[in-house]
Symmetry: C2
């Protein structure tokens, strides 16, 4: 009579799923707000954040953001029009265009990340041990290698 055919449909799991949905919603809101404060859309902010780390071919941006390359063209167009990003030729392949953040783009990306309060203030309420525990649980959830829990090598 107990129906546990699915991996994890118990009340506890559903509660965690609900909490994660809340985290996702709140994170998203904050990100969108932060982007708006800098006159960027969410998509533009995401691309700029990517390019602030390193220049990338258009194709790779599309892969990271899981959308069509033709979509990236427009987003980079708008960022380029505001001198936050520039297109450079790839010396190794003349088909490729490398999108790179300009100095101003990097500054904007920094300020944007700076203003992302979420998951920083909330985390401040947790002790260091709790944050470490949360990190390990999230890592395991995401399928990364667990940091060698002592109960199972």
């Amino acid at each position: 009579m107990t129906p546990p055919p699915r991996p994890a449909d118990d009340a506890l799991t559903l509660e965690v799923v609900d909490l994660i949905a809340t985290v996702v919603a709140r994170y998203h809101e904050e990100y969108e707000e932060a982007a708006t404060r800098h006159s960027l859309t969410g998509a533009q902010a995401r691309v700029l954040a990517l390019l602030a780390r390193e220049p990338l071919p258009m194709r790779r941006i599309a892969l990271k953001l899981k959308c069509e390359p033709s979509n990236i063209t427009g987003i980079v167009d708008r960022l380029e029009a505001r001198d936050l990003v520039e297109r450079r030729p790839d010396p190794d392949d003349r088909r490729v265009k490398l999108a790179a953040a300009t100095e101003e783009g990097r500054l904007t990306a920094d300020r944007l990340r700076e203003s992302l309060r979420f998951a920083r203030e909330p985390l401040a309420g947790l002790s260091e041990e709790e944050r470490a525990a949360l990190r390990d649980l999230l890592k395991r959830m995401l399928g990364e290698e667990p940091p060698a829990p002592r109960t199972a090598g």
Copy 2:
């Protein structure tokens, strides 16, 4: 020399923030995919999920989704065109239109939630204790009442 002016800018916190960003990204992808499998956009799926619980005035949908009411008009239009949602008059206020999921809409919403694998399969890799720990940490992070940790009544 140690610069800890902000509540939580240490490496550990930043790592957790990064993990949360990853969770958010993956959750979003999955949600969008699940919606697409049902020929819905993400926004349509979110509205339908809301209305599957209870009928709501257009205004309240906009509040929940944090967007303009005029935006909801179009989304509900498209859902209504597919008989997933219907508009009803509010008996108490003739200005108000209640959007309500149809039977088919509820079924679609159910199937959609059913196909949302994320945060269910991943969580299956965690023991019950770990899931409980994750739940408590997330709750505290979100500012909800902690489940009375024994160290601090």
